[in-house]
């Protein structure tokens, strides 16, 4: 048996060789990264501009359709109606006894 193979220098070099072996996987990953990573365009990104334009159009149309003065008049009318004391109506209630 050859015991000369085991000496501090050989152990030291073996330590760094082992680290290098493991480290080379990381180095390989970094080297091949540009090859494996083309520009990624997700479907969401591809149609997002168009969707944002549509959204802006809708918001604009909604804003134009909304008349604050008419809304206020309508709101006040609703308040008056809601403040009235309820009275019995002519229409029968569901489940109520009928003549």
């Amino acid at each position: 048996m050859d015991h000369n193979r085991d000496n501090p220098l050989r152990r030291f070099s073996a330590f760094w060789i082992a680290l290098l072996l493991v480290g080379c996987f990381g180095i390989a990953c970094i080297i091949i990264r540009p090859v494996t990573h083309a520009r990624v365009e997700s479907a969401y990104e591809m149609i997002s501009e168009e969707r944002l334009e549509t959204k802006a159009e809708i918001e604009k149309a909604q804003a134009a359709a909304l008349d604050p003065e008419k809304l206020e008049v309508s709101r006040e009318a609703s308040v008056v109606t809601l403040n009235q004391t309820p009275t019995a109506g002519a229409m029968p209630l569901p489940g109520a006894p009928t003549n």
């Binding site: 193979r5 085991d6 073996a14 330590f15 680290l19 990381g26 990573h37 990624v40």
Partner: protein
């Protein structure tokens, strides 16, 4: 022939004893903490399986949601039990075969604690809903660098031991150990960096994640199991390995075929067509190393049926090697003839358990039953515990595998029947799910026997005896002599 002189024998025994002593604490730490994680994984597996066929079970407990506990179960099994058992086997076997004492048990032990801490944080994070959702890499992303660093600190000393070994023969077990030690950082680093660190196409990330899942077993757990088998079979039977050429062929066929496995899970996904086909082909071709390895090991122990039956190590190892053959045969058949039925069904889980438990764990148990008496200088306390552990493990593994694979095939047929609802397909697997749950109960019970026995051994409460613990006969009439004697260097060798 100086090796055969009494002085050389005494020196050899003293060296082996010194190696065992130097590794006592790291090896026992890995085995016992691994056994605890195995029990945890079994409990989680039981709940996971129960939730598959009985969704209302523990439904009010948010951290036990099906998605969380499934991931916690498999990660506890892999990183808690599997890796730690593998660490114990690797560092002991490489030291023994290189004939070098361990010079850094303290560092290994420290790294082992860090590994355990990281696994615990990972499992808790998964249960809290912080998992990544990537199969077999569910731990939060900050965990993997810690695990990789701990792995390097644990195994680098074995690489050094191999490099400074006395010139001469390199054992078959050493090929596999060396390969496993280098293959794991390759696949783990690559998979984690490309999936979590580099921003890229999500399809590519899915492909790499599948590849990692496929190769982790074939390129890490399997080589460690085979290394253990190639050590124990000749050692215990006292015969050389049946064929060195077949061993060489088996090793290189695994090295060539193994790295291609994994992407078959993505059949039909918009990735290059050849990748899933290459993955499926690898899962068929795995039969080649399986035949080579199992033929070689089984021929080595052939004619020693009584030894295989009596030795706990050999009994577990033989079961694990047969498990490998079954794994490869089932894999070949399902990937050749029924792939559509297994792609989205329960069957994959059956293969996971068959590989991790039916092959790796059984071989690891065999190694543990051999190694622990040597490092503790005590013999196993109870033959009954070992026998129960063996039969319950075997029964549990076969049941989980059969129920999951057969149930999964039936489920796959249901999914393929387009005139039925998806739930009808899932319903076909329900009764098999009950079987899996009960089987995890058996596995849990078996591992309670094992864990308790191991803890007693670590506490050095084992038998003070020079006899190996055999599963037949009584120790009082053993040819090794009376009880209560411990030789000057270590425990018995058979």
């Amino acid at each position: 022939m100086p090796e055969t002189t009494p002085t050389a024998d005494a020196n050899d025994v003293a060296l082996r004893s010194a190696i065992d002593r130097s590794l006592r604490h790291p090896v026992m730490f890995f085995f016992t903490s691994g056994a605890v994680w195995l029990a945890v994984a079994a409990v989680l597996g039981l709940i996971t399986s129960a939730k598959k066929h009985m969704p209302e079970f523990l439904e009010g407990v948010s951290f036990l949601d099906a998605g969380k506990i499934d991931a916690a179960h498999i990660n506890a099994l892999i990183y808690g039990w599997g890796f730690q058992a593998a660490f114990g086997v690797i560092i002991w076997l490489m030291a023994r075969l290189s004939r070098k004492e361990c010079s850094s048990p303290g560092l290994i032990l420290t790294a082992g604690h860090v590994w355990n801490g990281a696994v615990m944080i990972g499992v808790i994070a998964i249960l809290m809903g912080r998992g990544t959702g990537v199969p077999w890499m569910e731990f939060p992303t900050f965990v993997w660098p810690v695990l990789l660093l701990s792995y390097i600190v644990i195994t680098i000393w074995s690489l050094i031991q191999f490099q400074v070994r006395d010139a001469g023969h390199v054992y078959v077990s050493q090929w596999y150990l060396l390969a496993a030690m280098l293959w794991f950082p390759w696949i783990y680093f690559t998979a984690n960096v490309f999936v979590f660190s580099f921003e890229g196409n999500p399809l590519m990330a899915a492909g790499i994640a599948s590849w990692f899942k496929g190769t982790l077993f074939l390129l890490f757990f399997l080589p460690v199991a085979i290394a253990s088998a190639y050590f124990l079979a000749p050692k215990i039977t006292g015969r050389p390995v049946y064929s060195y050429n077949i061993a060489l062929f088996g090793f290189w066929s695994l090295a060539v075929i193994g790295p291609w496995a994994g992407m078959q899970k993505l059949t039909g996904a918009p990735i290059p067509q050849f990748l899933p086909y290459a993955g499926a082909a690898a899962m068929v071709l795995i039969l080649i190393p399986a035949f080579a390895v199992s033929w070689n090991i089984l021929k080595t122990v052939a004619g020693h049926g009584e030894t295989v039956s009596a030795s706990p190590s050999l009994r577990f190892t033989a079961a694990g090697i047969i498990g490998f053959l079954v794994f490869a045969a089932l894999s070949a058949v399902t990937h050749l003839f029924g792939f559509k039925l297994i792609q989205f069904s329960y069957t994959g889980y059956g293969f996971d358990v068959l590989g991790l438990y039916g092959v790796f764990s059984l071989c690891a148990f065999g190694a543990i039953y051999f190694i622990v008496p040597r490092v503790t200088r005590r013999e196993w306390l109870s033959r009954r515990f070992i026998t129960w552990h063996f039969y319950l493990s075997l029964y549990g593994t076969i049941s989980v595998t059969l129920c999951a694979i057969v149930g999964g095939l039936s489920q796959g047929e249901g999914i393929e029947a387009w005139n039925q609802s998806f739930l009808a397909g899932a319903g076909r697997a329900q009764m098999y799910g009950w079987g899996v749950t009960f089987s995890w109960g058996f596995l849990l019970l078996s591992n309670l026997f094992f864990g308790l026995h191991l803890l007693l051994m670590w506490a050095r409460l084992g038998r003070r005896s020079s006899h190996p613990t055999l599963l037949t006969g009584h120790h009082t009439d053993s040819p090794h002599g009376p009880e209560g004697e411990v030789d000057n260097y270590g425990s018995a060798t058979a």
